[in-house]
């Protein structure tokens, strides 16, 4: 137990500064612990959150949209709305998970940016395939989800289906 160490060391002539640091550290740990709802306590729930794979898939789609827009300026008008919708999904997923959300920082930092095809048609085809796979992934997650998450996952799947059609 970490918090008991400074107290025990106190007997061994612990400096005042070190003792205070220990107390402050304990306070910070308690405060951070208070940020987690009891049911999301990592200690009480060692398995990853059921929405984690969908968050990863959403980050990958955001990365692919951003990469394609960066490589082909003239696709921006067409792809920016799709990118924004994926960022909305990310925010909604993080809210549902009870974790802080910020679409502004929603870059594809979780995974390496995907390589974009050297021709525009190829890049669009890759994005189309990624949206299609994303739709299937969200649909499967919706069908397997607890009741609380089914509606959000279903909406994400339906939205990705509309993206597939826009890119067809």
């Amino acid at each position: 137990m970490v918090f008991t160490v400074p107290v025990w060391m106190g007997r061994a002539r612990l400096s005042r500064r070190a003792a205070l640091a220990g107390v402050a550290g304990a306070g910070a740990a308690v405060a951070l612990g208070g940020c987690w709802p009891a049911k999301d306590n990592p200690a009480a729930r060692p398995t990853p959150h059921p929405l984690t794979p969908v968050v990863a898939g959403t980050l990958a789609l955001i990365g692919r949209c951003q990469g394609t827009i960066a490589a082909y300026d003239d696709l921006g008008t067409r792809l920016q709305p799709l990118l924004k919708e994926h960022q909305t999904h990310l925010d909604a997923l993080r809210r549902a998970m009870g974790t802080p959300s910020s679409s502004a920082s929603a870059t594809a930092s979780a995974s390496a940016p995907p390589s974009v095809a050297p021709d525009q048609a190829g890049a669009l085809a890759a994005l189309h395939a990624a949206e299609q796979a994303g739709q299937a992934e969200a649909a499967a997650a919706c069908l397997a989800a607890a009741p609380d998450y089914a509606a959000l996952l279903g909406s994400i799947a339906a939205c990705r289906a509309t993206h597939v059609e826009v890119l067809t």
Partner: protein
Amino acid sequence: MSAATDALSAALAAEHAAIFGCGVIGPRLSGAALTQGQQAEAAHRDRRDRLIVRLTKVGIAAPAALPAYALPFPVTDLGSAQRLAVQLEERTAAIWRVALGPTTGDDRKVALDALTDCALRAARWRRATGEQPGTVPLP
């Protein structure tokens, strides 16, 4: 009645309303838009029939269609018909979305397919009015 069959009954009521709306929209459409409208009406009728069978099978009285439904605005031309078509699909999608939570297994699959179809049709109607790309984040 369970939460699942309650949600399916609500979806059936929404499909009845959608079919009524398609009947209002149809006379204002022509060409490709008319085909789009006819396909939408056929899809809503198909969902309605399947829901009636699903509910009747477990002894639940399927809600009947009302004789008429209040329209959110008058439909007088192609533009207002397309706007109603968008609203009708959005509202039906919303009811199917709600049905995802209380349902499981095959019922949830039916609800997800219906939500996806409504979202696709709403996006097509929006594009028909010139809205690009016509998609929404959480249909």
